[in-house]
Amino acid sequence: MDSFQVFTTSTSLVDSVDKKLLVVLRDGRKLIGILRSFDQFANLVLQDTIERIYVGDTYGDIHRGIFIIRGENVVLLGEIDEDKEDELPLREVPVEEVLQIQREEMEAKVKREKTKHRMLSEQGFSVDTAEFGELY
């Protein structure tokens, strides 16, 4: 069924091809790039991709080039509205800064989770640990 996607009412990504998209991945990464190709699993080919890291009201970009993303890792795709992007209340900062802050936040979070895990285990609860560091 649905082998000719254009003839169906199905949700097709064909309208998003050659557009600048935001892709949110399951591990929490935000990639921005031009969608060149997709398939029924939502596997994606993104060109001129940048990974944008957000911290507070700032962000930093890392250039990544061409990505092939396995569909199971995709959370959502968003069409970027170029006008709105120009008026973002966020400041771009050098990537090293953002990475540093991100690292610190990650460490703090891991510490909190560990304490939580320990306290719950002591109470007799069995706690799920996220697989592959899935933090969204």
């Binding site: 944008r52 959370v75 969204y136």
Partner: protein
């Protein structure tokens, strides 16, 4: 197939999709497919400050596998019809699912 058909009847309605990563997005349902992938227009993120990356996004495609809930306007749902369809589905499960 049942819920695919059900969602097709809701195209054009405002819905709120809550994802497994706790992100909740309100938007108009544009389309749905057999995997229950969802396309929304004119989106507004619930609790916007936590998700600054979504500020410049007006429409989105959400992979069905990451959806936790879809919140619907109650008047749009014909419960009797839905229950009826579910009952019929139970008696004769359609040869559905993906290849």
């Amino acid at each position: 197939m049942l819920f695919y058909s059900f969602f097709k009847t809701l195209v054009g309605q405002p819905v709120t999709v809550e994802l497994k990563n706790d992100l909740a997005i309100t938007g108009v349902l544009v389309s749905v497919d057999q995997f229950l992938n969802i396309k929304l227009d004119n989106i507004k993120v619930v609790d916007e400050e936590r998700y600054p990356h979504m500020l410049a996004v007006k429409n989105c495609f959400i992979r069905g596998s990451v959806v936790r809930y879809v919140q619907l306007p109650a008047p749009s749902v014909d419960m009797a019809l839905l229950q009826d369809a579910a009952r019929r589905e139970r008696q004769q499960p359609a040869a559905g699912g993906r290849k």
